[in-house]
């Protein structure tokens, strides 16, 4: 047994233990914390599987943004000290059975797919020069299966519209935390924000060559927005409603627009002509990154009833 195998087995064991504890934690807030740890461990699993793109996305979205949203939700529901009520009741057994069934199905799918993969990786590599990017993941996401990614951006848009629909017309979706933000954190944020924006730009640009891309860049921007929201200055409140809506839609619309341009140039939808593929993909990714960032920060900023935004009597 090599050292790497030992590490992998310890990692997988830790993931399973974290997942089981997150569900069964005796105190709910502890389950939330372990869920965040689970996300970090899972991103390490992606690193070990040689999928750095997914690792970045999992760490930023799965552990970071989702963790912040779940933690926030638990706090607002007064769950810091509440015990987990689902222990020793029959739905618990049902969920375990359902989890086991899903696990078996996943294992079956994995075994079939990994056997029938054939020469797909080679074919993806062979076509890369015509796609205009060197990163296979970006090529698959934005060129080979452009439809899927376009619809994913659409799902994010629908989620954002759902959050906005819960607000009265004209009511700001961004709550303001009513507390004195610590001066130290406030000062540190002033230094972190420009660095974070630079980092997001780097990830976006890097996406065509290596790990990175629109979703990762958007998640980093959203993390900055969450930080500023916690410090009582939500960026989403600084733009007008119209501008916010435009930023939410721009990823979906721009994706479609570029796809249609490809059609007028004689291809199918999302079949970019090789000469123009690289700039077209960059245009799509930039717009998608903005929409992802605005959507994720909206999901956090609009959450729950803690701020004065929801004090206006929304039932």
């Amino acid at each position: 047994m090599t050292l790497e195998m030992l590490f992998d087995m310890a990692l997988v064991g830790a993931v399973v233990v974290a997942a089981a504890y997150a569900i069964n934690a005796p105190v709910l807030i502890a389950g939330v914390f372990v869920y965040i740890v689970f996300g970090v461990l899972l991103s390490l699993v992606w690193v070990r599987l040689g999928a750095p793109d997914l690792a970045i996305a999992e760490a930023a979205i799965g552990a970071g943004i989702t963790g912040a949203i779940v933690l926030d939700a638990a706090r607002q529901m007064g769950m810091e000290r509440r015990r987990n009520p689902r222990l020793r009741r029959w739905p618990g057994w049902l969920s375990w059975a359902a989890t086991a069934a899903v696990g078996v199905i996943f294992a079956g799918v994995f075994l079939t797919v990994s056997e029938g993969r054939g020469d797909l990786p080679q074919r993806v590599q062979a076509e890369l020069p015509r796609v205009g990017v060197e990163n296979e993941v970006t090529a698959v996401l934005l060129s080979y299966r452009g439809y899927d990614t376009w619809f994913e951006v659409g799902v994010l848009l629908v989620a954002a519209l759902g959050v906005l629909a819960l607000r009265a017309p004209g009511e700001s979706p961004a709550r303001r935390f009513r507390w004195d933000p610590p001066a130290v954190a406030d000062g540190a944020a002033d230094m972190l924000v420009p660095g974070g924006i630079l980092m997001a730009g780097y990830l976006l640009w890097q996406g065509s060559r290596g790990p990175g891309g629109a979703f990762q860049a958007g998640a980093v921007l959203a993390a900055i927005a969450v930080l500023l929201t916690l410090l009582g200055r939500p960026p989403i409140a600084r733009v007008s409603d119209r501008a916010r809506d435009a930023l939410l839609v721009v990823g979906f619309a721009d994706f479609l627009l570029v796809g249609l341009v490809a059609v007028t140039l004689g291809g199918a939808l999302f079949e970019y002509p090789p000469a123009w593929a690289a700039p077209m993909i960059l245009v799509i990714e930039s717009a998608v990154a903005v929409s992802v960032a605005v959507t994720l920060s909206l999901l956090f900023a609009a959450g729950g009833a803690a701020g004065d935004a929801s004090e206006g009597g929304v039932p």
């Binding site: 105190v27 000290r81 015990r83 507390w179 610590p182 130290v184 954190a185 540190a188 230094m191 972190l192 660095g195």
Partner: protein, 123 residues
């Protein structure tokens, strides 16, 4: 060769401080002392590990990126520790202060057990 040895010295001492911090987080009686232990890992442990990795990387872009991560951690970890401590204090958590009578160790473990009990019952 020399660089390799130096690198491993840094990595091993980084791992040592991480381990110490882990023990500290588990053994310390209250939020503030636990944060004090965790702070060792966030700053010293991370710094030593990153220096060790930079020596492995040599003069490459990877080393520059590691340096940037180091700077990032140097800003964020103390700020995060401070914010958690402040939030705990504002949230009504009081540090466990023990009277220093003759045998410090005895009363320290006593107050530690008390602290754990209080935390357990308030959940």
């Amino acid at each position: 060769m020399v660089i390799d040895i130096l690198s491993w010295v840094f990595l091993a001492s980084g791992a040592f401080f991480m381990l110490v911090a882990g023990v500290g987080v588990l053994r310390m009686p209250d939020v503030f002392t636990r944060l004090h232990a965790a702070g060792i890992k966030d700053t010293l442990g991370a710094a030593l590990t990153i220096i060790g990795l930079m020596l492995q990387a040599g003069l490459t872009l990877v080393a520059v990126k590691l340096a940037l991560i180091w700077i990032f951690l140097w800003f964020t970890s103390p700020v995060a520790s401070h914010s958690v401590a402040r939030a705990a204090l504002l949230g009504g958590v009081r540090p466990i202060l023990q009277q220093t009578d003759g045998d410090g160790l005895e009363s320290a473990t006593e107050s530690a057990r008390l602290g754990d009990d209080q935390e357990g019952s308030s959940r």
